[in-house]
């Protein structure tokens, strides 16, 4: 029991400080807390509404993520990630991109950049998965999809998957030709 108590005594204050000092805790304490993501549409409906639900056939979807205004926080994090990547600090660049995804997870551009960084780090397998994720979030966006397939081609080359790389290149060309 004393061992346990000893552990608890040291661990919890350390965690507590961090959790309370910089909520939400994934922001570095040295930076100001980021503003919340931009609300997508000008006016939001009231939280409480009568129990009237429209029939399912008239559900109207919201605009695509690509068309949503980008939050200033996401733009700033993208800039930071670019600077970090250019100075060779790929791990920090990845961390910045992950934070941006935490704010705007449906933005295919962020996933594409993260894939690019992972590929530069030599992690080709993860890069391909991230590029596929970007594609799944970019319906109808053939420019972004073509970029993703180009990246997948390079990731496969890096893994000596020559045939897979050629197939990916072909898909990128097909999409670019649209």
């Amino acid at each position: 029991m004393s061992v346990l108590r000893f552990r608890a005594g040291l661990l919890w204050p350390a965690l507590l400080l961090l959790l309370q000092g910089c909520a939400p805790a994934y922001y570095s304490p040295r930076e100001p807390r980021l503003p919340p993501p931009v609300v997508e549409q000008g006016t939001q409906p009231p939280v409480t509404q009568p129990a009237q639900v429209p029939p399912a056939s008239v559900i109207t979807p919201e605009p695509l993520p690509a068309q949503r205004p980008q939050s200033p926080a996401v733009v700033a994090l993208l800039d930071t990630a670019e600077r970090q990547a250019n100075s060779g600090d790929l791990e920090s660049a990845a961390a910045s991109l992950e934070r941006a995804i935490g704010i705007d997870g449906r933005n295919p551009v962020l996933w594409y950049h993260l894939a690019t960084v992972r590929l530069a780090q030599g992690n080709a397998k993860e890069a391909e998965q991230l590029a596929r994720k970007s594609t799944s979030l970019a319906p109808g966006n053939s420019v972004q999809q073509a970029r993703n397939w180009e990246l997948i081609a390079r990731a496969r080359q890096a893994q000596d998957d020559i045939r897979g790389a050629a197939a990916a290149e072909q898909r990128a060309r097909d999409l670019a030709g649209r």
Binding site: P45, P46, V47, P61, S136
Partner: protein, 439 residues
């Protein structure tokens, strides 16, 4: 400790006379003990005890205090209310919940019980409970991955079912309402959570195929290949359920649930990052089909009480779960931004009198009413098309069909025949939502 002169004799005597209090927990001084419990466990997979306990590690977590408070508040308030409404014993009902970000798998909040300050048994991580109907989407997904045989409009047989095992035991599942519903299109069978048609579908597909789907969704624990598995006769913790539903919510990508993003040393030297990784497990098209069915669960099925509070224009996809004799009440649901899983039940596993909709759903609804989340929406268009369908026949509909619904299909898999209600009058063309937006 007295021998080491860390405490004096008097203190040692007093300490010895005190009870150990194991299992009853204690009021922790720190906030969010349940979430910190998850942080500690995720750290311990990478750090030795002495690393964690040495001073000065700086740990960056994914906690969102606003979400955490909303979850804690809702659990407390709702469980009190439910006990009052049901006139049941006070304080017996327990609950747990997890909220994550849909795309990044960040754990935003975690509640291990009704009392948020209690640092004892963490039900979100350690309470293994029957999942009931939360398992059903995996059965339907297994079917939808064969678009040549199954679509959301395929009629399922909900007539009475008696299944005989090789050893002679008989299994005859019943619907919750004790009725049979004839031939039901797949999306409606899931929306109303019919047991009989789901069981028949699962037996046709084979238990191994369904188990394979559950594995791809990220379920790691042992699953017994008994037919009752199809209706959720298997135990999972709320956290495991969250992992499974994260794969649905993220469009088919297994996304590890992270409570930590990075660990720094005392002098801000990065020691370890917990990077975001994803793995494509289910084709996005199929994920979209099953998520659309789960959207109907909330629009017209067992989850429709969501819209007594949430705005009608916010799409939510989700599933209720209720187990035998009303022992467990579950709701798992997601918007475009967040996924939440809530469990309500009793520690002694006695019946609660609650269904998924009358218990856990209410907690989930309170939590999500405090967010301005965007809608869950379809994200795949290539290789898919929308059609108007007549629910009575599962065939194509036109404007003479009063109950027509719009359903997505893998291109080429939609029915080609028109329903009897169709008279040739035309409905507005089934909108390809996203192509429209790009025009």
């Amino acid at each position: 400790m007295a021998r080491m002169k860390l405490i004096d004799e008097q203190e040692a005597t007093r300490a010895k006379s005190q009870q150990l209090n194991i299992g009853t927990g204690r009021k922790a001084i720190n906030t969010f003990p349940a979430f910190l419990d998850l942080v500690r466990r995720q750290l311990q997979t990478d750090y030795r005890d002495e690393d964690i306990t040495s001073e000065g590690l700086r740990i960056f977590s994914t906690l969102d205090p606003q979400v955490q408070w909303a979850l804690e508040r809702s659990l407390q308030k709702r469980l009190n209310e439910i006990e009052t409404e049901h006139g049941s014993a006070r304080g017996k009902l327990e609950g747990a919940g997890v909220v994550t970000s849909v795309q990044g798998g960040e754990v935003l909040a975690l509640a291990g019980g009704r009392d948020p300050g209690f640092a004892g048994f963490n039900r979100a991580l350690d309470a293994s409970r029957q999942v009931g109907s939360l398992l059903k989407p995996a059965v339907y997904l297994t079917a939808l991955e064969h678009p040549d045989r199954y679509t959301l409009a395929t009629l399922l047989d909900d007539s009475p079912l008696t299944w005989k095992a090789r050893n002679g035991t008989v299994w005859a599942p019943q619907n919750y309402d004790r009725q049979n519903h004839g031939m039901v299109p797949m999306y409606l069978a899931l929306a109303h959570s019919y047991n009989v048609s789901t069981a028949r579908l699962g037996l046709d597909l084979g238990l191994d195929a369904v188990i394979h789907t559950l594995r791809r969704l990220g379920v790691e624990r042992k699953l017994n290949p008994y037919p009752s598995l199809l209706l959720g006769a298997t135990e999972m913790t709320p956290f495991e359920v969250t992992r499974m539903y994260e794969t649905y919510a993220s469009g088919g990508f297994v996304t590890p649930l992270r409570a930590i993003t990075a660990v720094l040393s005392a002098d801000n030297e990065p020691l370890q990052r917990y990077p975001l990784n994803v793995h494509a497990a289910i084709k996005p098209e199929y994920a979209q089909l099953i998520n659309t069915a789960m959207m109907y669960v909330v629009r017209i099925g067992t989850g429709q009480a969501i819209y007594r509070v949430l705005p009608a224009n916010r799409n939510v996809a989700g599933k209720t779960g209720t187990t035998d004799d009303l022992r467990d009440s579950w709701f798992a649901g997601f918007t475009g931004d967040r996924l939440g899983v809530v469990w309500v039940g009793r520690d002694d596993n006695k019946p609660t009198g609650l269904t998924g909709a009358t218990g856990a759903l209410k907690v989930w609804r309170d939590v999500f009413a405090s967010f301005q989340d965007s809608s869950w929406m379809q994200t795949v268009t290539e290789g898919m098309e929308n059609h108007w369908i007549d629910p009575a026949t599962g065939l194509l509909a036109d404007s003479s069909c009063p109950d027509a619904v719009q359903l997505p299909f893998i291109t080429g898999s939609a029915p080609v025949q028109y329903a009897p209600c169709a008279s040739g009058a035309t409905l507005p063309p089934a909108v390809d939502w996203f192509k429209e937006l790009f025009r």
